[in-house]
């Protein structure tokens, strides 16, 4: 019980610290919302006065004259009450932050979430088999290859895949967006097909770069576990290989990877900014980028908040899961 309470206390403290940093960092960026707006208002030879810019921003809920501390208090209150206000950045001025996030979130969850889970599942399976048949053909080829690919930078793989598969007028796959312009979102074969087609390259990029880590750690964990006495005993009992591999070796080898997986699930919310940027995929990562470029404090703060929450909640769940799965954690707690 003390272990759980301590974990929860730690969660609250981390959340507060992270939220404070989330507030401060955007305010340290160069530029200000007023300057972004000034460029936006630049039309028809008009000159926007600072008073006018501030009046406009104030009506959208951002008062540049309020002190940093009072902004901070308002921010904490708004974040915790889920009252996230409206965007004050460039082209989305006045759009509700909640609805912007609601619009982008499914795309990121669908793309990055599914790709991350697939990377973990496939990577783990390959790792188990490679560790089990240590020195075999699979072990000799697959892990080294994927270790190399996982060392490649995201954006480089993304650009390379565009050059290979999505270049020119008759490209194999689209390189841009989430579905064909002109289609309406609906449950039709054409729409779903278009979504899938647009997801192949970005998801493939994430898969290729993320899978190597899982393979390598899982393989090594499996090898370590295979040397344990209980595996030897299982063999001595004459259990079938498959059962030993999954129920004895893999189950224990998986434990250390759980926290890592939980954290990577948390990071899904942030989208993989580079991948979404290169493929112009309108998810949260792309939005993150636009919000930064537009000094869009409300949107940035909400996005940071989501990432923080997602990571912390996933880590907390992983902690609890380990607490349930591993008696040693309980004993020490």
């Amino acid at each position: 019980m003390r272990f759980l309470l301590r974990r929860l206390g730690f969660f609250v403290l981390t959340l507060w610290a992270a939220m404070t940093i989330n507030f401060l960092i955007p305010h340290m960026m160069p530029g200000s919302p007023a300057q972004v707006l000034k460029a936006k208002l630049n039309h028809s030879g008009r000159i926007a006065s600072p008073e006018q810019l501030n009046a406009l921003l104030a009506s959208f809920g951002f008062d540049p004259h309020a002190g940093l501390f009072s902004q901070y208090i308002t921010y904490l209150k708004d974040m915790l009450t889920f009252n996230w206000g409206v965007s004050i950045g460039g082209s989305s001025l006045g759009a509700s932050v909640t609805s912007m996030i609601r619009q982008a979130l499914p795309w990121t969850l669908g793309l990055v979430g599914v790709a991350t889970i697939m990377a973990f599942v496939i990577g783990t399976l390959i790792g188990i088999v490679a560790g089990w048949r240590r020195g075999g053909l699979l072990d000799g080829i697959v892990p080294p290859v994927f270790v190399v690919t996982s060392a490649l930078p995201y954006f480089w793989v993304a650009l390379l895949s565009i050059v290979l598969f999505a270049n020119g007028a008759h490209a194999l796959l689209p390189n841009d967006g989430n579905y064909d312009l002109g289609l309406q979102p609906e449950w039709s074969g054409q729409f779903i097909g278009s979504v899938l087609k647009h997801a192949i390259l970005p998801a493939g990029t994430i898969l290729i770069t993320a899978i190597g880590g899982w393979i390598l750690t899982m393989r090594n964990n499996t090898i370590t576990t295979l040397a344990e006495d209980y595996v030897r005993m299982a063999r001595a009992k004459g259990l079938p290989n498959r059962r030993i591999m999954f129920d004895y070796a893999a189950r224990n080898a998986l434990l250390p990877n759980l926290s890592g997986f939980a954290m990577s699930l948390g990071y899904v919310i942030g989208g993989t900014i580079l991948v979404e940027y290169v493929f112009n995929y309108p998810g949260l990562g792309h939005m993150f980028y636009l919000a930064t470029a537009g000094t869009d404090y409300p949107l940035l703060q909400a996005l940071f908040m989501l990432v923080t929450l997602a990571v912390l909640v996933c880590v907390l769940i992983a902690d609890f899961a380990i607490f349930l799965l591993d008696p040693r954690a309980r004993a020490k707690g």
């Binding site: 707006l37 030879g45 006045g94």
Partner: protein, 579 residues
């Protein structure tokens, strides 16, 4: 937007409007081609007599716009929201009068059928057109017009053009079918803004409920306006506009549908233009002849110049070198602007000149003789060297200067590389510093630079609008505070007086005043124009006719030019629909 991807997106939020609105220019108008057909549809005459052009063409057809948005649509259409008003003004909301910057401010009556100034030009009375309906069926009245302007008074955030605070607007009253606006002083230079740029909104919508409570932040997802098109529907990826069946110009619009996809990137936006999937573009297309023009005989482009791209020297005494007149003169004399245009801008943006007058758009104000007499009409490295020596620098003792620019604006980088080369022999060692959009803006506004490349301001129906932004001392600010638009911190009481006089002068005097301001551009060299920023504009004539062209410049042609877009939409017609 217009530049290459990195650039475009990097500044998309900050400079979207400026990037779109700001730039560019013409050069080789390669394309007189088939465009002329549209001209016969009498674009200028059409609305001028209020309705006129009776169904010259049958209705039908649609147009798709290609203009990189950089992000999905938020489906807001509030005409007072500067982030989205280009999507509703012109399409749905109309001004009182359309003022064409490309034809010396030529006027086309829209919601006002006529107007009359008082003798001192302190008050103006508009006669509101009869028989115009909002697209929900209610009539447009003088009351609506007065309501719109008074709404801007009550909510200063709506007053995007500072009419009540800056232009001296004092009252707007409706009387029968007339609306009278009273100003504190002569208001003729503001006509372009209050009559030409403000979209009129319906009182019966905006005086109740959400729009009345929060007119500035209201999303206005289903805009009710008097314009030729209605939003039907908007999704994050695409806006569909359909024709307003009860539009007040009989038989118009001819085109029945407008598609406006949200392109996240220049790549697909340019590709769709090249293959004809989109017919109306406002895109910067690198190497446009090969990437676009050559793909179809129906692909055309035209880049009308509107404002200056310039080297902006910091005139503040705290920057010793650039506040020295001889140094600025030396730079102005050394530049070969033709080369900068050809090598840096592939000729798409033509060479500018030291008078600050954008030609050929504003030829009327251009003093060619004065330019010739000044010697700035062609590069003169020897004179430049002498001037620089007189300031204490030279090839042996080079002057080190840094110019800031926006990273990713590859054409600017190329231009500056040419500038650097041209300045080197006279003894200036130029360093080009690429800055991320926001940092660039911050330093430009605050005056933290020796030289800046830019400035991405917008123009108006005469050079007055651009030059006043750049040269009027009230638009300056001390170093360290954001200057509204006079970034070089130029201050000259005589020039200020000229701008003040312009506001009350008649047409002929205005021309002579602009020429006097040009004389100061030549003698003081407050900034150094290099090329002319253009409106990027591509159009496909395979089915659609009636486009604005170089020979028939009835409106600023890019889809992001508002409310000019309405004039284009009212003149387009489809060949295939005529059978």
């Amino acid at each position: 937007m217009r530049r290459l991807k990195g650039a475009a997106v990097a500044v998309s939020v900050g400079v979207l409007a400026a990037a779109c609105g700001g730039s560019s220019h013409n050069t080789s108008n390669t394309t007189p081609t088939s465009s002329a057909t549209g001209a016969t549809s009498a674009p200028s005459s059409a609305p001028s007599s209020g309705g006129s052009a009776t169904g010259e063409h049958k209705k039908g057809g649609s147009v798709t716009i290609s203009n990189e948005a950089g992000q999905n649509w938020t489906c807001q259409f509030n005409p007072f929201n500067p982030a989205v008003n280009s999507l509703s003004l012109g399409f749905v909301y109309e001004p009182l009068v359309y003022v064409n910057s490309l034809q010396a401010g030529k006027e086309t009556p829209m919601l006002a059928s006529s107007y009359k100034w008082s003798d001192d030009k302190k008050s103006i009375t508009f006669l509101i057109r009869d028989g115009v309906k909002w697209n929900d069926g209610q009539p447009v009245t003088a009351d609506d017009v007065a309501f719109t302007f008074n709404l801007m008074k009550q909510n200063s955030a709506l007053d995007l053009y500072s009419l009540w605070t800056g232009a001296g607007l004092q009252s707007v009253t409706a009387n029968g079918n007339q609306v009278t606006m009273a100003f504190a002083g002569n208001a003729q230079t503001y006509f372009y803004l209050f009559a030409g740029q403000v979209g009129i909104v319906p009182k019966h919508i905006w005086s109740t409920g959400d729009p009345a409570a929060k007119p500035d932040t209201w999303a206005d997802e289903k805009p009710v306006g008097s314009g030729p098109f209605m939003v039907n529907p908007c999704t994050p990826n695409n806006i569909t506009y359909t024709a307003n069946p009860d539009y007040w110009q009989p038989g118009k619009p001819w085109i029945q549908k407008v598609q406006y996809p949200a392109y996240l990137d220049n790549g697909p936006a340019n590709l769709d233009l090249a293959n004809g999937k989109a017919q109306w573009g406002g895109q910067y297309i690198p190497n446009i002849d090969a990437a676009y023009k050559s793909k179809s005989k129906d692909n055309n482009y035209w880049f009308p110049p509107m404002t200056n791209v310039a080297l902006i020297p910091n005139n503040d005494p705290s920057h010793k070198a650039t506040s020295t007149l001889a140094v600025r003169q030396a730079i102005a004399a050394a530049l070969d602007r033709q080369k900068i245009s050809e090598l840096g801008e592939s000729g798409y943006q033509p060479a500018a000149n030291q008078t600050g007058i954008v030609t050929p758009t504003f030829d009327k104000y251009f003093d060619a003789d004065a330019l010739k007499a000044s010697g700035y009409d062609k590069p003169n490295p020897d004179k430049a060297k002498q001037l620089l020596t007189s300031a204490g620098y030279g090839p042996d003792k080079p002057l080190k200067l840094t110019v800031i620019t926006v990273s990713g604006y590859t054409d600017w980088d190329a231009s500056l590389a040419v500038v650097k080369q041209q300045l080197k022999p006279i003894g200036i060692d130029l360093t080009v510093q690429d800055l991320e959009g926001q940092t660039y803006n911050d330093r430009l506004y605050k005056g933290d630079f020796d030289l800046a490349y830019g400035p991405q301001l917008s123009g108006g129906p005469s050079p007055y609008y651009e030059l006043r932004q750049l040269l009027y001392s009230k638009n300056s600010a001390p170093i360290g505070t954001d200057a509204p638009s006079n970034y070089e911190r130029y201050s000259n009481a005589e020039v200020d007086k000229l701008f003040d006089d312009y506001a009350t002068a008649d047409d002929a005097t205005q021309v002579s005043i602009i020429k006097q301001i040009s004389a100061h551009m030549i003698s003081d060299v407050p900034f150094i124009p290099t090329t002319e920023s253009v409106d990027w504009y591509q159009y496909n004539t395979s089915d659609l006719q009636g486009w604005p062209t170089k020979d028939n410049a009835y409106a600023q042609p890019a889809p992001w030019n508002f409310p000019d877009d309405e004039q284009v939409l009212l003149n387009l017609w489809s060949k295939s629909a005529q059978k």
